[in-house]
């Protein structure tokens, strides 16, 4: 190893990233030692100081949090429609109250898909944690190879593969239902089966796109912090989609 450690090239690209680590104090230490310069007098928010190595990461995490909150409301709307339609009957011409809800049988492959998705969450979490192991972070930041990235890539690839497997499994489930003559418009419950699994699959597809972006970013991005953010945010999105799937799956299996 050469005795001289050359700083990472990215430090020289200061011009394009003016706001990095700069809350407005010009990268100087905070003048107000009590608050840590985070703008919170007496640290009323009670949490860790906003300055520090994870400042940008926390910003992106918060963005993902709000985006997921919004997405959750989307699913809440669809699930409430599910419950309303399930219990809405009508009075027919003979003055009988009729409720035509016939549950759609879940193709058994969905259980396998659920297991695949849960495993993919596990691999995703492994990938995410390798991005933050401190010793290796230090090495990578100093430019001594890319141990983090090297360790994260297999886990990330596994997650992408499992995600694609899940989507393939969902597609198979739809094909199996179609063979039985159950299509989107066959019955009220089939509307929801296809809609719920379809919308979730679309979100997962976006998640896989995010994972691929993270994967590409591991190679292309020149700042460790950016790579961490890409993987971390993709991971939180992925976990949420997994938990959401568990909820939706439970809905379809037990509440139809």
């Amino acid at each position: 190893m050469p005795a001289i450690i050359t700083p990472n090239k990215t430090d020289q690209d200061r011009k394009r990233h003016l706001e990095d680590h700069d809350n407005g104090a010009g990268r100087r230490p905070p003048t107000d030692k009590r608050t840590g310069g985070g703008g919170d007098n007496d640290n009323w928010s009670g949490g860790p100081s906003r300055r520090g190595p994870h400042e940008r990461l926390n910003r992106y995490r918060m963005g993902i949090f709000f985006a997921l909150a919004s997405d959750l409301m989307f699913f809440v709307a669809i699930v409430s429609t599910f419950f309303v339609n399930q219990s809405t009957g009508h009075i027919d011409a003979y003055n009988h109250y009729i409720n035509d809800w016939f549950p759609t049988t879940i193709p058994p492959i969905l259980w396998l898909n659920t297991a695949v998705l849960l495993i993919s969450s596990a691999t995703m979490e492994f990938a995410r944690r390798t991005m933050f192991q401190e010793n290796d972070v230090m090495d990578e930041w100093l430019g001594l190879g890319k141990p983090i990235t090297r360790r994260a890539i297999p886990w990330l690839s596994a997650t992408i593969a499992l995600g694609l497997l899940f989507l393939a499994g969902q597609w198979t489930a739809w094909k199996q239902l179609a063979l039985q003559g159950v299509f989107f418009k066959t019955s009220q419950s089939s509307h929801f089966f296809y809609l719920i699994t379809g919308v979730h699959a679309f979100h997962l597809f976006l998640g896989i796109a995010g994972l691929i972006a993270a994967f590409v970013g591991l190679y292309v991005s020149r700042q460790l912090e950016n790579r961490q953010i890409l993987v971390d945010c993709a991971a939180w999105y992925w976990h949420t989609m997994g938990i959401l799937w568990i909820f939706l799956f439970t809905l379809l299996v037990f509440f139809q």
Binding site: G24, G37, R59, A69, L72, A77
Partner: protein
């Protein structure tokens, strides 16, 4: 920067200007549509130039596009995304918004949504006729009316794009406010304008997704053979919808989903205006905002309660009468935080001999119009009275006074106020004064008589008042003189806005130069270092030392203490006079 780079910019100021230009275009289109509507109501045989006579479906299409454009593309873009992009980062001491690329994306999505909406006029069948509320089955069955085919699909697509854009923009606003405040800018020192943007963004994040879900479900009903909103045995234009089998959908479900979004939407439109009015009244009265902490709490309360009220749009729609009572109580409850704000405004300006610059005039106009429009809320909140007044012009008067006038006055106040910050010039006071008075008179002249029309029973969405058969025709024909007066006032009101456009265009080039803080403001955006026309270098450390609106004579003889001025020894030892008891 190349021209393309300037247009597709991630600079928040440019994006803010883009949003405001989009809103300006939209308001011009929307106003023109409303004038065509009003003229047709009173002179039904009038032929629109280059088009011909206005048929009933044309009238309903005008109503639909007018409502959609105004509520979404003017009142959800300009106060929230438009002005917050311009001013929010500077007001909290941040260099930029949290996610600049997402910011640009949300603007271009909004612009695309506007293009799609405008295109709905030119597709076969024309623009949709189901109003901005798009109740199914009228909106779910393409054969239910002209424009309900491709036009309705375009409308749905436009709103879907808008919902996504708005959500992204709100996430940006939220993360910026939470994480990018500068040193010393605690939550309690945030200007009320920022609190308004914050609450509106929270509401957006919750509400727009529900609209998106509803749009998706409606789209499925229209094209994928589902029946989420179509009941069993629905017979439209001779076609029985048995393709959905015996399954029963519920049109009321759309109402619930839509209004769960729709009511927070109108609060999103007004919350920034409420905040900016408090701040501007304080600024020009050289006073603190009375009961600042209470104002923060009431902003959040209005946001929170606003999610619980949606049923008051559905009192006579088939809602369970017990639920109607519950919604009625929560609707009455929201009158209290709104009244608290009015009391604060009155107290802030009480015995203050303010400076009557144009932004102040428009803020005072906001107060007046908000009171006028808001007070009819408790009337409509009573289901027994709504049974008479629902979907009459009384409701139209109520929401136009608040949204079309008060919220617009807020936008005008903000424009006149922040114009010097953006351009280094002042808008003409003389033109501004004429604009204010003519607009205020026009606003009251147009919308107060609408209450009378509503009390007389005139329904909304009626394409004609004359030539209607039966006893209804007699009743409606009697209302034509009143409507004629409203139309004349509306034409007057719209013409008065030309003064604003003239003022805007003229002041860009020939407005008198402004100092770096012409209004003697205390909020951070007027800091010389943050002023694009200021002289200081942009790398100075920024810190905030006090709440805004500290207008008191300091021992060292200063008239006021801006948020950024450092504490000096003299300030802590001398006596300072307070306008209000410290809280």
């Amino acid at each position: 920067m190349t021209a393309l780079r300037r247009i597709i910019s991630t600079d928040h100021r440019i994006i803010g200007i883009q949003y405001l230009l989009l809103a300006l275009t939209s308001v011009a289109i929307g106003t023109t549509l409303s004038l065509v509507m009003r003229i047709h109501l009173v002179w039904p045989n009038w032929r629109l130039p280059l088009y011909g006579p206005i048929l009933p479906e044309d009238y309903l299409a005008l109503v639909t596009i007018h409502g959609t454009i105004m509520l979404f593309f003017v009142l959800t873009t300009a106060p929230q995304a438009g002005f917050s992009n311009l001013v929010l980062p500077a007001q909290i001491g941040a260099r930029r918004m949290a996610f600049p690329a997402a910011n640009a994306a949300s603007f271009w999505l909004t612009a695309a949504a506007l293009v799609v909406l405008s295109s709905s006029t030119f597709v076969p069948g024309g623009a949709p006729i189901s109003g901005w509320t798009a109740y199914p089955p009228l909106s779910a069955v393409p054969s239910a009316g002209p424009g309900q085919g491709a036009g309705m699909d375009f409308w749905l697509a436009s709103l879907a794009l808008f919902a996504i854009a708005s959500t992204i923009s709100s996430i940006n606003t939220l993360v910026t406010i939470i994480r990018l405040r500068c040193e010393g800018m605690t939550w309690e020192r945030l200007p009320l304008t920022v609190w308004g943007w914050f609450t509106a963004a929270l509401l957006s994040v919750i509400a727009f997704s529900v609209l998106l879900a509803a749009i998706l479900l409606l789209f499925c009903d229209r094209h994928a053979g589902t029946s989420f909103f179509l009941p069993a045995g629905d017979l439209v234009n001779g076609v029985l919808h048995t393709v959905h089998g015996k399954g029963g959908g519920s049109p009321l479900l759309w109402l619930h989903l839509f209004w769960f979004f729709g009511h927070p939407e109108v609060y999103i439109a007004i919350l920034p205006g409420l905040g900016v009015t408090s701040m501007l009244l304080a600024n020009f009265s050289f006073r603190r905002v009375f009961a600042y902490r209470t104002m923060i709490v009431t902003t959040l309360m209005i946001g929170f309660l606003g999610i619980l009220l949606w049923g008051h749009h559905m009192f006579v729609a088939g809602l369970n009468p017990f639920a109607a009572s519950a919604f009625s109580i929560s609707t009455m409850a929201i009158a209290l935080p709104a009244s608290a704000k009015v009391l604060s405004w009155l107290a802030t300006t009480w015995r203050s001999r303010p400076s009557y610059k144009t932004p102040m005039l428009f803020s005072l106009g906001f107060v007046s119009l908000f009171i006028a429009g808001g007070l009819t809320g408790p009337i409509l909140a009573q289901p027994i009275l709504d049974e008479y007044l629902h979907n009459t012009f009384f409701v139209v008067a109520h929401f136009h006074l608040i949204m079309a006038m008060a919220a617009i006055f807020g936008l005008y106040a903000a424009t006149y106020y922040w114009f010097p910050l953006m351009t280094g010039r002042l808008m003409s006071e003389v033109l501004g004064r004429w604009h204010f008075w003519l607009t205020l008179i026009g606003a009251y002249a147009t919308f107060v008589p609408m209450h009378l029309a509503g009390l007389a029973g005139e329904p909304r969405h009626y394409a004609q008042l004359t030539g209607v058969p039966n006893a209804a025709g007699v009743m409606l024909a009697r209302l034509v003189p009143l409507n004629r007066f409203i139309t004349y006032s509306a034409l007057f009101l719209a013409t008065a806005q030309l003064l604003f456009l003239w003022n805007l265009a003229r002041s860009l080039r020939r407005g008198s130069p402004a100092s770096s803080n012409p209004w003697l403001a205390t909020t951070l955006e007027w800091h010389p270092a943050l002023n694009p026309f200021g002289q200081a270098a942009p790398d100075e450390p920024l810190a905030v030392h006090r709440s805004p609106c500290q207008y008191e004579i300091t021992p060292s003889g200063e008239l006021f203490l801006p948020q950024w001025a450092p504490d000096t020894l003299a300030d802590t030892t001398g006596e300072v006079t307070f306008d209000t008891k410290p809280e």
